[in-house]
């Protein structure tokens, strides 16, 4: 049991120290903090259940192997145990659901007044980013993936759709994806918390070059972002300033 507690505590503390757990990337947005906590809670609960049940499955194989031809006591049906092994898992999933209920609301919350709004359109096989109230319109190709520039610590609204088949807009570092479906406009907010360049991909199979349908996300300071907007989205400004990222 001490080992389990050690692993569980470490797993709970790791995200606080800002490191990844179980290979999970650091959440680089405000929303991702909540989703990261969700991962940690569920993984830890799962780990405890797994260790317990592995022990319960393996133990009889060691303790009660056949030693003679005599049959063991033919007992079965025990109401007390049956109620226990129905009730306890039920309480556990109710707890996990309550947790989900709480953080689903936080993750999907949409502010009334985002600082910026970007129209994202998925198509076979790249992305188009259009910044509202500007002329900035970035269209990528599989060979030269487009770049989405986001300001740090500000809320950016993404309006997501597709112009042909289903795609999914996924930034692993943000622990978040949403489907791009023709005829449907999906909205969500991103508030990055760390400067950096992140990888984004299409997660829904969409045909031949699905594997190459990537993009990059560049999170820059607010000043840089304002300058970038004023210069009509010229990335020259950023590559000069943001080489250190």
């Amino acid at each position: 049991m001490r080992n389990v507690r050690f692993v569980a505590t470490t797993a709970l503390l790791l995200p606080l120290a800002g490191c990844g757990v179980y290979g999970l990337p650091n959440g680089a947005t405000q929303q991702a903090q909540t989703m990261h906590l969700d991962w940690v809670v569920f993984s830890d609960a799962g780990l405890v259940v797994a260790v317990l049940l592995f022990a319960l499955i393996i133990a009889p194989l060691i303790l009660w192997r056949r030693r003679s031809d005599a049959y063991p006591p033919q007992f079965n049906r025990n109401n007390r145990w049956e109620i226990a092994y129905t009730g306890i898992p039920l309480l556990m999933v109710i707890g996990l659901f309550a947790f989900t209920f709480w953080d689903e609301e936080i993750v999907e919350r949409i502010t009334a007044h985002p600082a910026n709004t970007v129209d994202v359109v998925g198509f076979q096989w790249s992305w188009r980013f259009h910044y509202h109230n500007t002329n900035i319109d970035v269209v990528g190709t599989p060979q030269s993936p487009p770049q989405l520039v986001l300001p740090v610590d500000e809320t950016t609204r993404i309006d997501l759709t597709s112009s042909d088949v289903n795609h999914a807009f996924w930034i692993p570092a943000f622990l978040f994806k949403r489907d791009a479906i023709a005829g449907i406009s999906n909205h969500f907010d991103l508030q990055p918390t760390r400067l950096g360049v992140y990888r984004g991909v299409c997660a829904e199979f969409c045909g031949l070059d699905h594997a190459l349908m990537s993009f990059t996300v560049r999170v820059v300071s607010r000043g840089d972002f304002a300058r970038w907007l004023r210069n009509g989205g010229s990335s020259a400004i950023l590559s000069a300033k943001g080489a250190s990222l």
């Binding site: 179980y22 290979g23 990337p25 989703m35 991962w39 569920f42 993984s43 799962g46 797994a50 049940l53 499955i57 009889p60 194989l61 009660w64 192997r65 056949r66 003679s68 005599a70 049959y71 006591p73 033919q74 007992f75 079965n76 049906r77 025990n78 145990w81 049956e82 129905t86 898992p89 999933v93 109710i94 996990l96 659901f97 989900t100 689903e104 993750v107 088949v165 289903n166 999914a168 996924w170 692993p172 570092a173 622990l175 978040f176 994806k177 489907d179 479906i181 023709a182 005829g183 449907i184 999906n186 909205h187 969500f188 991909v201 299409c202 199979f205 045909g207 031949l208 699905h210 594997a211």
Partner: protein, 547 residues
Amino acid sequence: MTTTTVTAPAPGTSLVRHGVIAWLSSTDHKHIGILYMCTSIFYFLVAGLLAMTIRAQLIQPNMTLLGPHQYAEIFTLHGTAMIFLSIVPFALGLANFLIPLQIGAPDMAFPRLNAFAYWIFFFGGLTIFSGVLVNGGAAATGWTAFAPLSDIRISTGGGQDLWIVGLLMTSVSGILTAVNFITTTFLYRAPGMTMWRLPVFTWEMIATSLMILLAFPSLAAVLALLFIDRNFGGQFFDAGAGGNPVLYKHLFWFFGHHEVYIMILPYFGVITEIIPVFSRKPLFGYTGLVLSAFAIAGLSMGVWAHHMFTTGAVANLFFSGVSFLIAVPTGIKFFNWIGTMWKGSIILTTPMLFAVGFMLNFLIGGITGVMIASPPLDFHAEDTYFLIAHMHYVLGGGSLFAIFGAIYFWFPKIFGVQLSERLGKWCFGLLFIGFNTTFFVMHILGMMGMPRRIYTYPALQGWGELNFIATVGSWIMAAGVFVFIWDVVSASLARKGVADDPWGGNSLEWWTTSPPPEQNFTSLPPIRSERPVFDAKHPELARRTGK
């Protein structure tokens, strides 16, 4: 038509027919069951080879063994063959063989319908695979074939149409078989075999049949709509013309999530047959276990859109809540198996090893399943290798391990030939190690950001190493499958005879000869509990149960 009039107790005729014509025209449930199982093992081997090529392509970054279109065809055929032509039909075949035997009936209620169901499944499988011969190749849109990707403007090849009609045939086959199972178990039980004395495998098949009846019409509907869209100018899923791509997802997953339980409940039944025999104890909580199967079947009505959390078009919390609840009846099954083994007298034969392997693998798949039932967590995991790992732990580590367990358990009954315990244990060891090597690392790959269905990936940190491990695991699994084939071939050649009841079984199939005669039984023991054969052989330990 050749018919036989059956009086009770049924006469065991020596009228055994051989030859190709006999197999083609037979309506004997045992022949049809064997045909189903052999066909599904064949497709399992084909789909396994396809999986090997997938793993070979992904062994390191930027491989060019396969082109993008070939890769898409291969993973589409792999998924379709494993799900529709292997895991489901094996269960239908096993049930075809076992249900009349387990309930003490001479045959299925509708023998000719049964033969029709098998043959339309057989032709359906061939039709799906015939796509590789036509211009444009086989279907290449994944086993889900989401519209609009599968629409005529984007997937122009005839392979997609053949895939649709082939799948339609298998879904018709499933519906007919389900009707047959329900009728047979309701009406053709032997004297004293009340519903609450049915073996658990038969119970699980009743629940499965119920779900087939609910789910497969939805599949048939979505396939028909897609076919109309493609060939007759329909616009059901064309957003530009007022159609709705989300409707496809609704109809498909309404079928699709029932399908997940259709693929696992029969195998819960298999495991529940194996564990009491080799623990030499009765099942811990028979009634609870049966009710849990129906709880799963019932709740599975309300979970389909947990495949659609990221669409933003469904009530996530409703589907999340119902999905969580399914963990409870699944837990009941686990504790029942543990309770059955508890203080038993356990014999670790090959079928029992596969049952234990099933429990360990399925437990991991179940836990990751609860994780991704939480939408905020699914927002990261959906459509990634984490999901691939989850799904393969449930269907590969779960259902396929149970298939091997079932083969080792019932092979002596079906063919009257015993498989080798020594080779069986090698097969289990290689499969268990290979399986976990292949799929465990996929959890990590998914969390690191690898999406599913990509034919190539860039040389990002750690991806190459983990994918290499997964590919090595696939070779170990292949070795395990070779040992299995070797075992079956050598045992069939040696033809070492076997007793009627080699394991000390509980249910009625162990009462009759191996293989069973034409009308299944020459006599029946009195049926006073869910394990009549055990009661008859150990009257001092017998107990009377069942309503």
